[in-house]
Subunit: 223 residues, 2 copies
DNA sequence: TCAAAAACGGAGTGATTACTCATTTAGGAA
DNA sequence: TTCCTAAATGAGTAATCACTCCGTTTTTGA
């Protein structure tokens, strides 16, 4: 059997994303684990394959991690805490600071375009996190508290500011407004991957503009 | 080890949902398989546990199904074709026929309430279907063609009718309108399960009304 | 009523699993 | 060079996996 070449390169992972103090071997193991888990899911992955991909002996793996599950957690939890979470909020935060004076419509478009690129780049990682969070409560906790809640908070603050400026209706909960734009956006992303034929040849920015406009017509203060 | 009592009872499955011609044993096996897969996922489930839950010998399983994967497909594919798919479209179809004369807002509210109940009742089944579709293309195909596309079509027809009546804007694709209401609705459902504390004590119907109103303000023809 | 056929049971198969452990290797200090 | 220690190794282990085989029981049909 020939060696399989991993189809998914984790080029976006910096050394600091997994943990501060990692030996060369630990680093190789976690990177290999991420590759294998990403391709087959946790249950269908084997420690022997992780060892093979990492280029170390199987015994070495269990010198650094007590169990297979510990490998999963040691891989995904630091990535959520140090990479996915900060990556999601920092970029959003900067974007909001820099464009505070722009009209709502343009800021939202910038945000959605930025998020779309970000999600696309991280998709293999996000996919395995979302899937495995269903079976491992430890992952679900970290996902909720270090990613979901933080992104929510940043975005809610932004919407509340705009609400105070009078650019958004104040007769209903900002949460509902967030659900509306978030839902429309995610549904568009899903629709792009499930039905690529539908979105082919269309201008992505134009499509995002429609989503923003549809949201704002519902969410803006009545003139 | 004491026998485990399945925590998820598939009381909603009718005999005809899985297949027309099933022996008693086959029926027991598929029901047990569904229970076990639902709890642990496909990869982490074992044929010996399925046999135990079904109350048959492990050999009996492989008399009826060649492989473990065949059990998965024989369980989920008929359920999608005969139960999830029809259940989703029939109810929608009836509801639209009966309330053709009602204003858009009320019909949408009825639809969302109906869908919410339906999804809640089927959730354990839908969950395993959505999760395993990520790893088994055969499931993904059936899910797309026998569930997603059919629901879409029914709903698109409804929206197009209302568009022709002048109740919805005709300056943009109905698809976008569908994405908008669908996204807002699904996001609300997800938010209810992820953050139950947020929705506790609130009137569900009232919350759905807000979603509908938010959508319609964006999607209705400007007066 | 009875023989042929089909269904069933459960011990058993080799392969594979997560994980262990005695041994080897590597690298720095004396 | 010669230790010493910690890291790395890979053959090995018991358990478990999906799946088979064959004797027994049940069903079928005439």
């Amino acid at each position: 059997m020939p060696d399989q070449v991993p189809t998914f390169q984790h080029s976006w992972i910096g050394d600091q994303s997994l943990s501060g103090e990692l030996t060369d071997k630990q680093w190789k193991i976690l990177k290999a684990a991420l590759t294998v888990f990403t391709e087959k899911g946790y249950s269908a992955s084997t420690t022997s394959e992780i060892a093979r991909v990492a280029g170390v002996a199987e015994g070495t793996i269990f010198r650094h991690f007590k169990t297979k599950k510990e490998i999963l957690l040691a891989t995904l939890i630091p990535l959520m805490q140090n990479f996915i979470g900060p990556g999601a909020t920092n970029s959003l935060h900067d974007l909001l600071l820099e464009n505070d004076n722009l009209p709502m419509e343009e800021v939202l478009l910038l945000i959605l375009e930025d998020r779309q690129k970000h999600i696309a780049a991280l998709w293999p990682l996000l996919r395995i996190v979302l899937l495995e969070a269903n079976y491992h409560p430890e992952l679900k906790d970290v996902l909720l508290n270090n990613v979901v809640r933080k992104v929510q908070k940043s975005f809610l603050v932004f919407l509340e500011q705009r609400q105070r400026k009078g650019e958004l209706r104040d007769d209903l909960d900002v949460w509902k407004l967030m659900c509306s734009i978030f839902g429309g956006f995610v549904t568009y992303l899903v629709s792009c991957t499930l039905f690529p034929e539908r979105e082919q040849g269309k201008n992505n920015r134009q499509e995002l503009k429609v989503i923003v406009e549809l949201f704002l017509r519902g969410a803006q203060k009545q003139t």
